[in-house]
Structures are given as structure tokens and as C-alpha cells.
């Protein structure tokens, strides 16, 4: 029984972090109808920067994390401006461009940072006794908490700020939003930056637990896509639910069915969803 | 003979009833106009007839055949062609190639040797002579409309659904368009069902007019009958009221 709770907890912890990856993708898809294949590479970049700031430059880990996230936000802005903006309206090209970008970044990381795993130091160490059932790493618990904080902050942003209102308007009806004076280019730019920053946030939160290597980004991107589709394109709440579902399914599946095929569950879910209910759990049926 | 028969067709989206229990028929050789205020459901009706949407209720038959479960391409092959309100040319292809697609889609295969002639004839008829090699994306608005029509004609239809061809045209272009529509019926023997906002044009060219308002067919008859009918005036005036 305690084994089950351990797997379940792992699933929830990973799930909330998956949700965080996915929110970034969902934001960009909702606003710009662009799928950023390089999403995972930005997660990885955040991890590298976090490690760099903390170890090489000796900043406090928390400061390193915050700075890295900001750096990724700026990188996101640059990517949007240089690569995405010219492809407006042509979904196929933005797909191809971001796919190529992801490969370029992976190889660049290999070149610059080398193949060995890097990680920033933990913020906390040790383990806690969870409900007297099992011992669980503190850094993971902290990770869970931080991810939750960021997600809540994101929802507050969406629900209560001007920017959030714009995001919701554009998600619902792009043309209408343009007609009422929303500047599409600026919204796209900031949304893309923000989406990348969310990937970065996930990166800085997760890398103390799972060190980054040049190629882990692919798995992150794919996980994010599965969650977004599962939760429903255009639904942020869906990302959270979808993330949790995926996290739990993966961990329970790996524990009870087959650990070798852990990565498979997500893809199978993706195909099942796209085939039977493309709108996902909470998405709107696109007319 | 009755070419198209629409019986009690309804279509709703969510809670909105876009087409409500509409019934009418179109006889062979006629030019029938379909008018009504914005949002009356005219294009939705076309989409249902052409197979792009499925009717919730009702029956549509064309030349005696039930169109209900047919896909758009099958309906086209039955002889029912359509144009789109906002033109949809194949932008990356030339005018020649655009019309070629229509020939390729036909059930009765047109031999390769006959195609250039047929395409040239169709383009000439619609006023695009000499523009065979021009890319569709380089055409201006009226030429795009001409191309749209040429493509529809090339499918060898018995009936064409025209969706607002006159929008955005100058008055000279409009009279050219009207002339073309008349030619299509007179010379090619094609029946026409025509949605149009320029009511005057419809009244001058059509033998019969159908009036749609808020999804329902509120009136039909000859142009004279319809223009003096009170329910029609109200339908349009009602729209004017709402705008105040």
C-alpha cells in the first residue's frame, strides 16, 4: 500500500511539473497556433543557466533560478522575433522551423556544455516522512510546491490582469480581438516569451532533481504536447488535469505494467485522444 | 423537371437555429435568387446542400437522388457545383491548373488531349482569356471570381450554387457578371441558385426569388410578387431597425 502511495505521489509530483511544461506550450498554441518543437530545449537551457549561475558564478540557487527564468524569457522573445514572426499564418513552416531549431539547440548544447549531466545544487536536502507511509525527497516536495506556486501565479495572471484578458480574448477569437484593437504582434511576442519562460521555470525547478543533458529536451517537448492534447488545446485547466493524469498513469504504469515502456504511455494516450476525442478533456471543439 | 428539391431542412449550431424547416424546389433551366438579411442562414443552407454540412433534419434530393449522406466531392460529381462567398482559388497554381483540377475531379474522364481546348474555352467564357499561365494568387478580385466560376463550370454541372458573386465589384464589373450569369444559363443550359446581397440585380435577372430570414423561408415568388410582399419589407426593415 505504501508502495502504491509512493508511486502515486511520484506521479502527482511529476504531473504537476508536466502541467507546468504544458502551460507554456498551451499558451503559445492558444495565442499563435504555433507548436514550439524547441520547447524542451528551452527547459534544458534554463537548467544549464541555473547550474552556471549557481556553481560557476556562485549565486545563491534561488537567485540563479530566478535569473535563468528571466534569461529564457528574453531568449523566447528573440526566437519569436527572428524565427516565428515571418511565418505567421503558415503553420507548416513554424512547425518545421521550430523542429530544426530544436535539433540545432541540442547540438549546440553538446558543443558548448558537453555531454555530461549538469545540475544546479539542491535548495534543500534530506527527506520527509509523508503521512507515515514513506520517505520522500525534500527537493522533490519543494519542486512540487514551487511548480504549484508558478501555476497559481499563471492562473492569477490569466484571470485578473489586462494581459490575461487579452490572452483569453485572442484564444477565443483571434480576428475579433484584432478588430477591437489588440496588437497581435506584441501579444504574440510576449506570449511566446512567457511560454518559454514557463518552460524555463520548469527547467530550474526540475534540474536539481533530474540533471540536464543535451538531449533530454525532446522528451520534455513530447510530454508537453501529450499533456496539451490530453487536456485540450486552448484549455489551461486542462493542462493541469492532463499533466496530473499523465504523471500518475506513467508512474503507475511503469511500476505495475512495464518500466521499459514508460515513455510509451504518453504517446499511446496522445494517439487515442487525437483519434477519439481530439478536443481533449476540456478543449473546445474547433468548428 | 425539378432538379433540386429541399424538404424541411433544418440545421442548428449549438443553440442557434441557422436554418429552420426550409422547403423549396428549383426547376431545370431557372435562375433562382436567394436573398435575405445578414445572418439569415443563406450560406449555411448552401453548405448543407453542397454537403459541407449535414442537415439535422430534412431531405435534399438532386435529380431524384438523395444527397443526404454524400460527401462534397460526390455531390459535385452528381452535377451540383458551387462557388464560395470568399473565393478559394488554388493560389499556388495557375488559372489553367485551377480549371484542370475540376476536370480531374470529374466522374466522366476527360481525355488528356481534349483538356487544353476545354480549359481554354472555359477561361474564355468567363473572361479570363490569355491568363492561363497567371498564378491565381496574382489575380485581382474580379478575376478570382471569374476563376471560381470557371472551375465550377468545368465540373460539367447541371446546377450551380452561386454564393454572392457581386460583392466588391464596381457597377461595370457587376453588369459584366450579370451578363455572364445569363450566358451560363442561356448558352450552357445550367440551372442557377444564387445568393446575393445586391437585391436589384437579383430582381432583374431571376425568374423566382426566395427570401430567407432568421433561418426560415418567409416568402417566395416572382421578383414582382416578392418585392411587394409585406413580410419581406419587414424582414429587411426589421434589420434596419436593429441597426439603430
Amino acid at each position: 500500500m505504501s508502495d502504491f502511495s509512493l508511486y502515486l505521489t511520484n506521479g502527482l509530483v511529476m504531473g504537476i511539473i508536466y502541467a507546468l511544461f504544458a502551460l507554456g506550450v498551451a499558451l503559445i498554441v492558444g495565442i499563435m497556433n504555433v507548436i514550439n518543437f524547441a520547447h524542451g530545449e528551452l527547459y534544458v537551457l534554463a537548467g544549464y543557466f541555473s547550474a552556471l549561475f549557481a556553481t560557476a558564478l556562485g549565486f545563491h540557487p534561488a537567485l540563479a533560478m530566478a535569473m535563468s527564468t528571466v534569461v529564457i524569457f528574453v531568449v523566447g522573445l528573440l526566437i519569436e522575433r527572428v524565427f516565428i514572426r515571418p511565418t505567421y499564418g503558415n503553420d507548416m513552416y513554424s512547425l518545421i522551423v521550430t523542429f530544426i531549431l530544436s535539433i540545432v539547440l541540442q547540438n549546440a548544447y553538446l558543443l558548448i556544455f558537453g555531454p555530461y549531466p549538469r545540475k544546479p545544487p539542491n535548495l534543500v536536502t534530506g527527506a520527509t516522512n509523508v503521512f507515515s507511509l514513506f520517505m520522500y525527497g525534500n527537493q522533490r516536495l519543494l519542486g512540487f510546491g514551487l511548480a504549484l506556486v508558478v501555476i497559481v501565479a499563471f492562473f492569477i495572471l490569466i484571470k485578473f490582469t489586462w494581459f490575461g484578458r487579452v490572452v483569453r480574448a485572442v484564444s477565443l477569437d483571434r480576428d475579433m480581438a484584432a478588430l477591437v484593437g489588440v496588437n497581435p504582434e506584441r501579444v504574440n511576442l510576449i506570449s511566446f516569451g512567457l511560454g518559454c519562460a514557463l518552460a524555463g521555470a520548469a527547467g530550474v525547478i526540475l534540474t536539481p532533481i533530474f540533471p540536464v543533458t543535451p538531449t533530454v529536451g525532446v522528451g520534455v517537448s513530447l510530454t508537453a504536447f501529450v499533456v496539451v492534447v490530453l487536456g485540450g488545446m486552448g484549455s489551461f485547466a486542462g493542462c493541469v488535469v492532463g499533466g496530473l493524469v499523465l504523471g500518475v498513469v506513467e508512474n503507475l504504469g511503469a511500476a505495475y505494467l512495464s518500466s521499459a515502456y514508460k515513455q510509451l504511455f504518453g504517446f499511446v494516450i496522445l494517439i487515442l485522444v487525437l483519434f477519439f476525442r481530439p478536443a481533449g478533456l476540456f478543449g473546445r471543439q474547433r468548428v | 423537371m425539378t432538379l433540386l428539391s429541399v424538404e424541411s431542412v433544418s440545421k442548428s449550431f449549438g443553440g442557434l437555429m441557422a436554418v429552420s424547416n426550409v422547403s423549396f424546389s428549383v426547376e431545370e433551366g431557372q435562375i433562382v435568387g436567394l436573398i435575405g438579411p445578414n445572418g439569415a442562414g443563406k450560406t449555411t443552407l448552401f453548405n448543407v446542400i453542397a454537403g459541407a454540412l449535414h442537415a439535422d433534419e430534412g431531405r435534399i434530393s438532386f435529380r431524384g437522388k438523395d444527397l443526404n449522406r454524400l460527401a462534397p466531392h460526390e455531390i459535385c460529381r452528381e452535377g451540383l457545383a458551387r462557388t464560395f462567398q470568399v473565393t478559394r482559388p488554388f493560389l499556388g497554381m495557375t488559372c489553367y491548373e485551377n480549371v484542370l483540377v475540376a476536370l480531374v475531379g470529374r466522374r466522366d474522364r476527360v481525355a488528356e488531349s481534349e483538356r487544353p481546348q476545354l480549359i481554354e474555352k472555359t477561361l474564355d467564357l468567363t473572361g479570363l482569356a490569355g491568363k492561363q499561365a497567371v498564378l491565381a494568387r496574382d489575380l485581382n478580385l474580379i478575376d478570382k471570381k471569374r476563376l471560381e466560376l470557371a472551375r465550377a463550370l468545368a465540373t460539367n454541372p447541371k446546377l450551380v450554387l452561386l454564393d454572392e458573386v457581386l460583392g466588391g465589384l464596381s457597377s461595370m464589373e457587376m453588369s459584366q457578371a450579370l451578363e455572364l450569369i445569363r450566358t451560363i444559363r442561356d448558352r450552357l443550359g445550367i440551372t442557377i441558385l444564387w445568393i446575393e446581397h445586391v437585391v436589384g440585380a437579383v430582381m432583374s435577372l431571376c425568374e423566382r426569388v426566395l427570401v430567407l430570414s432568421q433561418g426560415a423561408l418567409i416568402c417566395e415568388g416572382t421578383p414582382k410578387e416578392v418585392s411587394s410582399d409585406t413580410c419581406v419589407i419587414e424582414a429587411y426593415l426589421g434589420e434596419a431597425d436593429a441597426q439603430d
Partner: protein, 307 residues
């Protein structure tokens, strides 16, 4: 007409390569031919019907593993295993195409990506059958191994494949492809059976990739999950994009150009993927029509200035 002459001349030139290329460069030429086949068939699907599939490498893998496993486990001669591999790839192409039919753009690409990754994970894990990442040793296509023979086999296969693609593009099917790519709704309203056309494209592209993959496997005599990977998919995509997506010669030029380039860069270490990536990025961003587009643009300017 001049195209056919040019093609035959090119084929003739290629056929003489084994006589003056050393073993190393002959290998590069063979790999170039493999990529020509992969890029051209992917272009048919992505460049002509607009379905950007990321499962192309997976189909090559299906071809390779099918004939390879049949040869090793069931003793079936590769010459029989190869058509079986192609048939299986075609069948799975049909399945994938049908699965994706209600999807467009992004969703379709994601589905093909998931399909590809599922296949790679399964192949990697089923060690008993496939030897996973250690690689499966398989016999050559026929007879004794010979680079020269392999070269000619792939040359003939590539020539036939390109001929087939050319014929398709010039046919009614090719016109349907382009119509579907430009505007599905309009195509459908003109009598084009869009669903059927899209699936046919998947079947043909899948079969061709299966063929290329199978020949690749029997040439290298060793297959690993790499052939099913996104890395290989990336190369195919980059070659097509750089050469010119949506054109007939684009993928051919892209594949040969990049294969040669990669051999030169290899001298400086394993940077070639990065460099390809950067070039592909620049191409996608600044010259989406690829080398072919640049060439045509250059020609158009020459014509304009000449007059």
C-alpha cells in the same frame, strides 16, 4: 523533353562513379542515394499534399527491420523479404494516414511523431528480436557483399523511384495532390476525393521509405533503432527544405549536397548536424523555397535584367 535527356545524362554520369571513386566516397555516394530516395518520397507527402509527417524514418525502419528480421530469424532471402517490408510499410502508411485523416497541420504532425517514437521505443526494447541498440546483423541483399554492386542496386532503385514520382506528379493524382495541399475544401467542392488522395499519399510515401530503408539495411548489414529516429527524420527534412520543398529536384539536390557537405565537415568532427541545422534554419527562414527557389529567382532576375 529536355528534362528526360538531362535525367539520362545524369544517370549515365552517376553510373560511372564506381570507376573512379575510392571506397570511402563510394560509401558516401550510396548514402547520398539513400537520402535522395528518402527526401524525394517525404517531399511527395509533405511538399505536395501538405501533410508534414515525422514518421518517414519510421517507415524506412519498418522496411529495414522487416526484411532484416525475416532474413535472420526465418531464413527468408532478402530478395523476398524486401517486398514484404515494403508491403508492411505501405500498410502502416495506410493505417497512419487513415488515423490522421481528421486532423490537419499540427495535430497530424504530432500524431506521426508519436507513431514514430512508439515504434522506436518498441524496437529498442524488444531486444530478443531486434537486438535493440546493439544492432541487428543482417545479410546483404543477395550474394556476396560488394560496394559496387550495392551502389548500382541503389542507383537503379533511386532512378526508378524518381521516375515513379515524376510520373505521379505529372498525372491526375499529382494535380489532386496539389489541389488538396492548396485548399482541401475547394478541392472537395470540385469533385476531388480528398480523404482518398491524402491516404494514397501516405501509402506511397510509406512504401517508398520502406524500400529505401530495406536497401539501406542490407547495404550496411547492420540495423539499429537509429534508422527509426528523429535524428534521421531531421536529416531528411533538412535536405528537403534546403533543397526546396514542393519541387521535384529540390530533395534530390538537397540530399546530394548535404551528404557531400557532411563528408567534408566530418573531417572537423561531429559538427555536421549542427551546421546542417543552421543552414536549414537559415533556409527555412530566409529562403523557404530552398536552393531550387534561389536558383529560379536568380534566373528570373537574369532574364529581367537581360531584357
Amino acid at each position: 523533353m529536355q528534362y528526360w535527356i538531362a535525367a539520362i545524362v545524369a544517370l549515365g554520369c552517376f553510373a560511372t562513379l564506381p570507376f573512379f571513386l575510392g571506397q570511402y566516397w563510394l560509401h558516401a555516394a550510396i548514402m547520398g542515394l539513400f537520402y535522395v530516395m528518402m527526401a524525394s518520397s517525404w517531399n511527395l507527402l509533405a511538399g505536395y499534399t501538405g501533410q508534414v509527417s515525422f514518421a518517414h524514418a519510421a517507415f524506412a525502419g519498418i522496411g529495414a527491420y522487416t526484411s532484416g528480421i525475416l532474413a535472420v530469424k526465418a531464413g527468408i532471402p532478402p530478395l523476398i523479404g524486401l517486398p514484404l517490408g515494403v508491403a508492411l510499410a505501405a500498410l502502416l502508411g495506410f493505417a497512419l494516414g487513415s488515423l490522421c485523416i481528421r486532423m490537419g497541420g499540427i495535430y497530424l504532425s504530432l500524431t506521426t511523431l508519436a507513431f514514430s517514437e512508439i515504434l522506436r521505443i518498441v524496437v529498442t526494447n524488444e531486444y530478443e528480436i531486434t537486438r535493440g541498440t546493439m544492432g541487428l546483423k543482417i545479410p546483404p541483399l543477395f550474394g556476396e557483399y560488394s560496394k559496387t554492386v550495392s551502389f548500382y542496386v541503389l542507383l537503379i532503385a533511386a532512378a526508378l523511384m524518381l521516375w515513379a514520382i515524376r510520373r505521379i506528379l505529372d498525372s491526375d493524382l499529382g494535380t489532386s495532390f496539389r489541389a488538396v495541399q492548396n485548399d482541401e475544401t475547394a478541392a472537395s467542392s470540385l469533385g476531388i476525393p480528398v480523404v482518398r488522395v491524402r491516404i494514397i499519399a501516405f501509402v506511397i510515401a510509406g512504401a517508398m521509405a520502406g524500400l529505401a530503408g530495406s536497401l539501406y539495411g542490407h547495404y550496411l548489414m547492420l540495423i539499429t533503432p537509429h534508422v527509426l529516429s528523429l535524428d534521421l527524420m531531421f536529416l531528411v527534412l533538412a535536405m528537403t527544405v534546403i533543397g526546396g520543398m514542393g519541387t521535384f529536384v529540390g530533395p534530390i539536390i538537397g540530399a546530394l549536397f548535404l551528404e557531400v557537405l557532411s563528408e567534408y565537415i566530418r573531417v572537423y568532427g561531429e559538427f555536421h548536424i549542427l551546421i546542417f541545422g543552421l543552414v536549414a534554419l537559415a533556409a527555412a527562414r530566409f529562403a523557404p523555397e530552398g536552393l531550387v527557389g534561389l536558383w529560379r529567382g536568380y534566373f528570373a532576375r537574369k532574364v529581367r535584367s537581360g531584357q
